[in-house]
Amino acid sequence: MNMKEGNKEEWHGEGGIGIISSRVTVEGPLKKGKSSILLSGRRTYADLILRPVLATMSEENTGYYFYDFNAKINYDFGRKNKLYLSGYFGKDRFYMKYKTDYMKENIGFQWGNATGTLRWNHLFTNKVFSNTSVIFSNYTFGIYDKYKVIEENKDYYAEYYSGIRDLSLKYDIDFLPNPAHRIKVGALTIYHRFNPHAYVEEDYPRDIHTKDVRFTNGLESGIYTEDTWQPVQVLKINGGIRLSHFIATKNQYNFFEPRLSAAWRLKNDFAIKGSYASMNQYIHMISNTGISLPTDLWVPTTDRIKPQQSKQIAFGVVKNFTKPNLSFSMEGYYKTMDHVIGYKEGASFLLLDEPSSATNLNWEDNVTAGQAWSYGIEFLLQKKEGRLNGWIGYTLSWTQMQFDSINFGKKYYAKYDRRHDISVVSTYKLTKSIILSGTWVYGTGNAVTLATSEYYPNEHNPEGSYFRYPGYFHNAVNDFGEKNSYRMGAYHRLDIGIQFHKKKKWGERIWEISIYNVYNRKNPFLYHTQTNTIDNKEYGSLVQVSLFPIIPSISYTFKF
C-alpha cells in the first residue's frame, strides 16, 4: 500500500469538521518541482462530547475513539533517483467505566500502530529500476482494568499488553526485458522484536507490584524471483519462487514457497483464472473463544512454536457485460493450514502460569498447535462507471480447526468462521453537485463457546471429607456443549450519506450529512450472563453489549 504523494507545484489543503470527527490534509512543495510534503490527521471525539452528560445519567459509560496521523516527504533528485520518507501513527481505544457509591471501575482495551518508511527509487535504465526501503513498525495491543473501592480505599490496577516491533530492509528490482515479460527479483530481511505479553499489576492494600515484561526476537529473511509472462495477448502467467528463512533463538526454519497463477481471456468479455500458492507465516494470531472480551493477540514463531504453513488453490471466472456496464467475477478457494495455534483449554493469556502447575511457564506452554481448513466461494458484481456505481459482494465460506488437545481432539468451527458475508456499496450522482451514497454489510456471527446449563460435579474423594481443602470443593460448573458451537448474532448495518458539492473562488466546499447504522442495529460485541430477581424468582439471561448505535453526523469539508 502506497501513500499519496504531496503536490510539488503548489499548496493544497482539505479539511472536514464534523460532530463526531474531524480531519485535515495539507500538501505542498518544499522545493518547487523537486520536493513535497503531505500531512494529514483524523480524530473521532463523540465520546468526549457525550461523556459529561452520560456521567450524570448512567452508572455505565461506554466509549470509543480513534485518531491517526500521516506524513510523507518526497524528494526528486532527477529522473533516476527519488527519495520518499513517510510515517503513520494511529490508535483505537475502547473503554467501559462503571461507577457506584461503593466502587468505580475503568476497563478497556486499545491498539495502535506506528510506522516509518524510507524508500529510494532508482532507475538504472528505462527497463530496470529498483526500490530500496527501510521500514520500521510498532504494533501494540493492551487491556487494562483499574478498580477502586471508595470507602475502603482499595486501589487495584492491572494492565496486559503485547506487541510487535519490526525493522525491515527491503530491496526490489523490476526488469522489463521485452513487452512479454516483467521480471521481479528481491530480498527482504525483518528483525522482529515480539512482546508476546507484558503484565503489570498494582494492588496497594495487598502490596502487590508486578511488572512482568518478556521479549522474543526473530530474524526473518526472504529472497524471491517472479516473472509475469504474457506469451499471447489473451494469456497472462505469473510464476515465482521464494526462499523463506527464519531464525528463532536456536532453531532455524527454511522453506521454498512456489506460486503460480494464470489468467486466460477466452472471449473479449470472459476470462478464467487460477492460482496456487504455498506460504509460511512466522507470526501467529491467537484468539480467545469465549463470549466475553474479544481478544486477538499476535505471537511469534519460536524454537517450540513452528511457523504456520499454508497451501491455497483458487479458481475463478470473470465476465463483463456492456448493457448495463457490469463486471461479474466468481472465485472459489481451498486452503489448508498447518501449525496454527490456539489457547489450551483453561489457559490464561493474562496470568500465564498453568493452573495445575507450580512451575514457571511462559506463554508457549499455554498454546497448542493444530490444523485448519478454509474454503469458500466469492461473488462480486461491480459497476465502475455511470451515475450509479458500486458493487455487491458475497462470500460463502467455512473455516474449521482441529487440535489434539482442544475439544477432545474433535474438529470445530473457528471463531471467525463466517458462513455468509455480504457487502453492498453504492454511490449515485443525483445532480452535478449532489451525491448519494449507501453501504450495507452483513456477516454471520462469530462462533463462540457458550454455557448451555450447569451442574455440580463430584470428584473422587477416597478418604472422605478428610482430603478436601478450601478451593477444592467445586461449585456448579457449566456444560458448554461442543466448542464454538454457538453463534453470536449476525453483524449487519446500513450507512447512508448525502454530499452537497459547491465550487468556491478558493476551491470547493462539501456539506455531508450521513447516518451510521441507520436502523440502529445492536450488533453484538460481547455477551455476559446475568441473573435477575423478579417477584422472588430468579431468572438467568444472556446480555449483549453493543458498541455503536445509530449515529447521525454532519460535516463540512473544504478543499483548496
Binding site: I19, I49, L50, V53, M57, S58, T62, I143, N288, T289, G290, I291, S292, L293, Y343, E345, G346, A347, S348, F349, L350, E354, S356, S357, A358, L450, T452, S453, Y455, Y456, P457, E459, H460, E463, Y466, F467, Y469, V477, N478, D479, F480, Y486, R487, G489, Y527, T529, T531, E538, Y539, G540, S541, L542, V543, Q544, V545, S546, P549, I550, I551, I554
Partner: protein, 289 residues
C-alpha cells in the same frame, strides 16, 4: 432540518447512545435446555462397596431453581460376560463384590435408563495393579511459625518408578497420623493432617519408565510432640478418564474470567455428563516415631 440548533441533535444522540449499550439477547436463539444425567463413579478392586452417584444438570437461562426431577432410574453394570441390575442408594446406585467383582484389566460398562427417556452409557477398564516401588524421603526443616511448638516442619519427596511401555496416570495423596495422651486426663487422642503435593494428578507422558519425583513442601508441623506418628501415602494408578476428569476440574474456567479461555469439564458419559472411571491403589506407610 436545520443545524443551527445543534443541541437537539446532541440530545437525540445522547438518547440513542444510552439505550444502545446493553440489552438482553433476543435476536438469537438461546441454547435449548436439555436435561442430562450427571454420573460420577470411581470403581476399584480394593473397594468393598462402590457407588454410582447420579444427579442432573439445571437451566441457567429463563426461570431458575425450577426443580428438574429425573424420574425413576434403573442402572445396569456389565463385565462383558454378564449384566447385573444395581440397587438404588440415597444418591444413585450401589453395588458390592458379591453383585459384580471388580477385577484388574477388565472392562466394565454402565447403562442408566430412565422413565423420562434418559439413556446414558459409559465404560472403563480397571488398571492393572502394579508395584511402583514407592519411596519416600522426609526432610525436617527449621521454621519460625509461631504456632509450631517444635519450630520444625516435615517436607516429603515421593519417588515413583514408572512402568515402561504403558501410559500411566497417577494421583497421589498423603496424610500424617499421630497419637498422644492428654497429660491431664491421660486420655488417648488421634490427630491427623493432610499432605498436599505440588502435582496431585499427573501422567508419565515424557517420563515413561523413569523415576517420577513429586514433592510436598507445604510442611507438616503437627506431630513432633505426639507419642507416635505415621505418614501414609496413597498412589492411585488411574485410567485416563479419571485423570482427564480431575485435571479438567482443577483447570476449570466457566467463562467468568474474561482473560481466561473457557475450559470444559471432561466427560466419558455418552448421552450425559460426568465420569465413570477406575483406579487401583498402592500405598506406603512410614513411621515417624
Amino acid at each position: 432540518m436545520t443545524f443551527q440548533k445543534p443541541g437537539y441533535l446532541f440530545i437525540f444522540l445522547l438518547i440513542i447512545v444510552l439505550f444502545s449499550c446493553e440489552k438482553d439477547v433476543t435476536n438469537i436463539k438461546l441454547p435449548e435446555f436439555i436435561q442430562k444425567l450427571v454420573i460420577s463413579s470411581f470403581i476399584s478392586p480394593s473397594d468393598t462397596v462402590s457407588y454410582i452417584n447420579i444427579s442432573s444438570n439445571r437451566r441457567i437461562y429463563g426461570e431458575l431453581g425450577v426443580d428438574e426431577q429425573v424420574g425413576k432410574l434403573t442402572a445396569f453394570l456389565s463385565d462383558n460376560t454378564r449384566e447385573v441390575s444395581l440397587d438404588t442408594s440415597k444418591s444413585g446406585f450401589v453395588f458390592r463384590p458379591k453383585d459384580m467383582l471388580i477385577e484388574e484389566g477388565k472392562e466394565f460398562k454402565l447403562r442408566v435408563l430412565g422413565d423420562k427417556g434418559f439413556s446414558v452409557f459409559a465404560s472403563c477398564i480397571i488398571p492393572e495393579k502394579m508395584d511402583f516401588f514407592l519411596e519416600a524421603d522426609t526432610f525436617s526443616i527449621p521454621v519460625d511459625y509461631y504456632w509450631s511448638s517444635d519450630r520444625r516442619r516435615i517436607d516429603v519427596r515421593l519417588t515413583i518408578h514408572d512402568i515402561q511401555g504403558k501410559d500411566n496416570y497417577y494421583r497421589i495423596l498423603g496424610k500424617g497420623v499421630g497419637y498422644y495422651s492428654d497429660p491431664y486426663t491421660h486420655e488417648s487422642h488421634k490427630g491427623d493432617n493432610i499432605i498436599r503435593f505440588e502435582n496431585e494428578f499427573f501422567s508419565d507422558k515424557g517420563v515413561d519408565g523413569k523415576e517420577i519425583i513429586q514433592e510436598s513442601n507445604h510442611g507438616l508441623n503437627y506431630f513432633f510432640d505426639h507419642d507416635s506418628a505415621f505418614l501414609v501415602f496413597y498412589l492411585y494408578n488411574t485410567d485416563k478418564s479419571y485423570y482427564q476428569y480431575h485435571k479438567s476440574l482443577n483447570e476449570y474456567n466457566g467463562g467468568d474470567n474474561p482473560f481466561e479461555e473457557v475450559s470444559p469439564i471432561f466427560s466419558n458419559v455418552t448421552g450425559g455428563l460426568g465420569v465413570f472411571a477406575a483406579y487401583t491403589v498402592d500405598s506406603l506407610v512410614l513411621r515417624l516415631k
